[in-house]
């Protein structure tokens, strides 16, 4: 069994989670049984994983595991059909689509929140005390059962959380008290698990215990994808193998790897307390070579792909020019440089359009980008498209523009190449000479300025022969990054 170890699954995930999902699917499609082990409590999880095409049996969440609800199927629980609300005594008064009140003799004694994205299913119930303060709050799981109960200190901060089994008995109890002068969780207690209690100071200690329980049931290979989880994975006893996978460039200075690793990667590369990973895997061999120079551990530093793609068709240059970027719209991606580059392109080619698809790194940056579009008078040419796995802007894209300076792999660029779209990118470390090859499937622009980027784009858009050749090259790159190739690389470490 192969265990992919993660924190959570959301509607909006980072590349790390996407990479995990892809790997999970590839492993399972190729007779390498794999499951995703998740640390964080998420009562919406069963709905989220469905959105990403994962099956319930692909995922084991730690809380679900101890609550005994890993396999629980969904049943729709209407807020008006709850056993817990005695309609002989109370009125349920609908206020709007989001919540209803529980009233007794005209007084609001509680509030029922509707489960997000449903009509009238229960999401949570708060009970008030006689002073109208929330005294108890019950959280429902997407699958229609009461999953967690929370109580509060006199100042309104969380006092205690109880994660419940289906029979209502507590499985995990979290206490919130002082650490220094702040009220924070100070204890996770596993209650009546296999007949006894277990007390942990941190959630990660509980997670380590969980991973060991999983491994005891069925020993396997653990792959840690998040640096916050390295410690828990390192502490699994008797695992077949332990692997850390580094999605991002781990160096303090990506231009000067020899200056060392960022602190957060120390554990992933060098282990801790004498415990080390069997393999440290990076997406590209050149990164692996640099990391190997820095490691003090016995671990093998190797490379294996972050992901893989399905190959599309090559394109010809057409009248309609759609420049695209797909990925997080964030400061470190220098999305503003893409827009500035587009301004130069637009000056020469007024019919060209730019589509930016992804979610914003911050509200602040969103405003900055939108202001920039206005300032540059590009409002009718630049389109921000919400993240949506079902609606990809790549389909009718002409060129993919990237302005980030460093990419561990460049998954978004590979997706573009798979659609036959050549990439014009700043010459970013670990993309250059790996994914994007000059004159083969796109160009790495060494002069990392918007004008530099724009000039290369304009050059290509004026040469339909060159464009066709790059598009062919893009398809070829995609073929090299096929699922079969992906498995071939990974099999070296998981077999």
């Amino acid at each position: 069994m192969i265990y992919l170890v993660g924190e959570n699954v959301f509607t909006f995930n980072s590349g790390t989670e996407f990479s995990q999902f892809e790997r999970l699917n590839a492993f399972n499609n190729n007779d390498k049984r794999a499951v995703l082990l998740l640390r964080n409590y998420n009562r919406m999880l069963s709905n989220e994983i469905k959105k990403h095409g994962l099956r319930q049996k692909d995922v084991i969440n730690m809380y679900d595991y101890f609550q005994g609800t890993v396999k629980t199927r969904r049943k729709e629980q209407s807020l008006r059909l709850l056993d817990s609300i005695p309609l002989t005594d109370y009125h349920i008064v609908g206020v709007d689509n989001n919540y209803s009140n529980i009233e007794y003799k005209g007084k609001k004694i509680g509030e029922i929140r509707v489960m997000p994205a449903t009509v009238g299913l229960v999401g949570s119930i708060e009970y008030y005390d006689s002073l109208g303060q929330t005294a108890v709050k019950e959280y429902w799981d997407w699958r229609g059962f009461k999953s967690m109960v929370e109580t509060y200190h006199p100042d309104g901060s969380v006092a205690m959380q109880q994660y419940l089994r289906q029979d209502g008995s507590p499985a995990i109890e979290v206490t919130h008290m002082y650490i220094g002068d702040k009220v924070l969780p100070t204890m996770w207690k596993l209650i009546n698990y296999k007949g006894r209690d277990w007390q942990f100071r941190t959630e990660d200690q509980l997670f380590t215990f969980f991973l060991n329980e999983i491994n005891n049931q069925e020993p396997g290979t653990f792959i840690s994808d998040r640096r916050t989880l390295d410690s828990s994975v390192l502490n699994v006893e008797n695992a077949d193998k332990k692997i850390s996978y580094l999605h991002s460039v781990p160096f303090k200075d990506y231009n000067r790897p020899q200056q060392g690793l960022m602190d957060v990667y120390e554990r992933a590369v060098n282990g801790e307390n004498g415990k080390e990973f069997d393999y440290v895997i990076l997406p590209t061999q050149d990164q692996a070579d640099e990391v190997a120079k820095l490691t003090t551990a016995q671990s093998q530093v190797v490379s294996a792909p972050d992901s893989y793609v399905k190959t599309g068709k090559a394109k010809e240059l057409s009248q309609e020019i759609n420049l695209v970027y797909v990925g997080r719209l964030a400061v470190e991606k220098h999305t503003d440089d893409v827009i500035k580059a587009f301004k130069h392109i637009s000056n020469k080619l007024p019919e060209a359009k730019l589509k930016l698809q992804g979610y914003f790194g911050s509200g602040e940056y969103e405003k900055e980008l939108k202001d920039l579009v206005k300032k540059l008078d590009l409002t009718d040419k630049v389109e921000f498209v919400a993240y949506d796995p079902a609606k990809q802007v790549l389909q009718d894209g002409t060129l993919f523009l990237n302005a980030s300076r460093s990419e561990g792999f460049g998954m978004n660029m590979l997706e573009a190449l798979a659609s036959g779209i050549p990439v014009v990118t700043y010459a970013a470390n670990y993309t250059r000479n790996n994914l994007v090859k000059d004159g083969v499937n796109g160009f790495n622009v060494v002069k990392t300025t918007p004008v530099g980027l724009a000039n290369k784009v304009l050059e290509l858009l004026g040469d339909s022969k060159e464009y066709a050749s790059l598009s062919q090259g893009a398809i070829q790159t995609a073929k090299e990054n096929s699922e079969a190739n992906f498995m071939k690389q990974w099999n070296k470490f998981i077999d």
């Binding site: 056993d83 009970y127 002073l131 109580t151 006199p154 205690m160 008995s169 008290m177 209650i191 007390q199």
Partner: protein, 520 residues
């Protein structure tokens, strides 16, 4: 079912608990099911109730009911049975504090203080639990039957925050909250209940919770509720949702000044009940005199029953009589708390007068001294004894467990109280042939003592008259024996059979009112 409503059944009992136990035994003898309802939670509820002869079948704790713990076979839970969720612990016994200190063997940190009961095989009373940062985050209280019952979560600044009651298998079913009011005072701000059928109810006060409980146990109707502690449910019983026969039981004077029953301000404990008297099915008082006074003042439409709260058991009634000349001549006793209401200084003054003419007279005082005002009442009487040179005549005997033996050797029982609800002590003394000499005090003594038949009743506060009657008794051996015979004879009024008959009248009225049998 017939329910008696009370707070609990503690070791230190007042007359109300004694009356309930006697009633329970009476009902049991006549195969009439009944239960004492204990509203309040107490970890030793079953221990103390069982010790008083109230078995688990005759006891219904409200918290037990919701905790699904009415019937739990007791086991002796000790520190060895506890699981702190820590792999290896060390334990230190602090015998002087009746507790163990439990530390984590891995890091030496305090995990818990385990408080135990040194009298009951070191059973666990409570555990004070600490997190790894040294915060006391919770105190768990264990039922004497050996399960975790009440959990008190602490606030970061070390006050009791939320409290939870659990089922023996560990599910939270009752919660109460301690939060700040607008004056930033930490107060109880509400109750939360999850019932067996899954329903969740919230309540502002424990009174509301108790009312819900009463309705729950009366869900099918046709029960009898006897309200022995008026303030617990004087409102709730007037609002029951299903038919029930509700009995307002007076255990004390309905008037603040019992000697002025028709005009003095109503006894605070009964104010609400008396203002709503006709919303009960019936009212019980222990004496005819009190029944008459209630009728005259309140003119209730509710039925009135006079039922003694004391019962003289058949064994006592059938005992061989002890003749007066076989007893210590001149032995006067009082069985009462040494307290202001009992006015024992008057009795001492009366005995002084008697002593001047009958030097053999002695007075033995049986009962706890009231601790209020630093035992002020006892000190007052001691001073008086000294003033009257009665040091060899009056003796404080304290509390005795074998009062019958004392009573079989005494001749006169003196009673000088300011107010009484019934006075079981004088009834018991008379059942052993002691002659009663009492002030005309409401209610009880002036009914239990029948003037000229088993003793004498003198004017309220007239200790000289009391002395005269004692002298009369001590100077006339024939009269003395006649009165003692009268004491034995009049005790029949309180026989098991007579009291049961009185209750049967009430139960029959209940069946008539409810239009069917009382639920078993």
């Amino acid at each position: 079912m017939i329910y008696f409503i009370n707070f609990g059944m503690p070791d230190h009992k007042s007359g109300i608990e004694h009356a309930e136990i006697k009633r329970l035994n009476l009902f049991k003898n006549h195969n009439q099911p009944a239960k004492v309802i204990a509203r309040d939670w107490n970890r030793t509820l079953h221990q103390t109730a069982n010790a008083s002869g109230v078995d688990d079948d005759s006891l219904l704790g409200m918290f037990d009911y919701f905790q699904d713990a009415t019937k739990v076979s007791a086991k002796n839970l000790t520190v060895d049975d506890l699981d702190f969720g820590v792999v290896n612990t060390n334990r230190e016994d602090e015998t002087d504090k009746n507790r163990y200190l439990v530390t984590n063997a891995a890091n030496g940190k305090l995990v818990a203080r385990v408080n135990y009961d040194p009298v009951h095989d070191r059973q666990v009373v409570s555990t004070e639990l600490f997190d790894e940062y040294g915060n006391l985050y919770r105190v768990d209280h264990y039922d004497s039957r050996g399960f975790r019952s009440l959990v008190q979560w602490y606030t970061p600044d070390n006050k009791i925050g939320n409290e939870e009651w659990l089922t023996p298998d560990g599910r939270t079913v009752v919660r109460t909250f301690n939060k700040f009011d607008i004056h930033h005072k930490l107060v109880k701000t509400g109750w939360w209940l999850q019932e067996k059928n899954g329903e969740i109810h919230t309540f502002d006060t424990i009174d509301e919770l108790f009312e819900h409980f009463l309705n729950r146990i009366n869900e099918k109707g046709n029960n009898i509720f006897i309200l022995d502690r008026s303030l617990l449910a004087d409102g709730a019983l007037t609002r029951l949702k299903k038919p029930a026969y509700t009995v307002m039981h007076l255990h004390n004077s309905q008037a603040g000044d019992a000697q002025d029953p028709l005009h003095s301000i109503v006894n605070n404990n009964y104010e609400y009940a008396l203002a709503n008297l006709d919303r009960y099915s019936s009212v019980v008082s222990a004496t005819q005199r009190q029944t008459n006074d209630v009728i005259e003042r309140f003119k209730p439409k509710a039925k009135m029953f006079t039922i003694p709260v004391g019962i003289v058991d058949n064994e006592t009634l059938n005992e061989d009589h002890v003749a007066m000349d076989k007893r210590t001549f001149g032995k006067v006793i009082a069985v009462a708390r040494i307290a202001y209401e009992k006015r024992l200084d008057d009795l001492v003054r009366a005995v002084k007068i008697v002593h001047d003419q009958v030097p053999e007279v002695t007075l033995d005082l049986y009962g706890y001294a009231d601790s209020s005002n630093n035992y002020g009442e006892k000190r007052k009487i001691e001073k008086l004894i000294k003033e009257l040179n009665l040091e060899d005549v009056v003796t404080f005997k304290g509390y005795t467990n074998d009062i019958a033996k004392v009573e079989k050797d005494a001749q006169v029982f003196g009673l000088t109280s300011r107010m009484e609800g019934f006075n079981l002590a004088v009834m018991e003394a008379l059942s052993h042939g002691v002659i009663g000499v009492t002030y005309d005090v409401n209610y009880g003594p002036n009914d239990i003592v029948v003037d000229g038949k088993n003793g004498y009743i003198v004017d309220f506060g007239d200790y000289k008259a009391l002395a005269e009657k004692m002298l009369k008794i001590f100077k006339d051996k024939k009269l003395m024996q006649e009165l003692s015979d009268g004491s034995y004879e009049t005790s029949e009024r309180f026989s098991d059979e007579n009291v049961w008959n009185a209750w049967q009248d009430l139960i029959k009225d209940a069946e008539k009112t409810l239009g069917g049998a009382v639920r078993k």
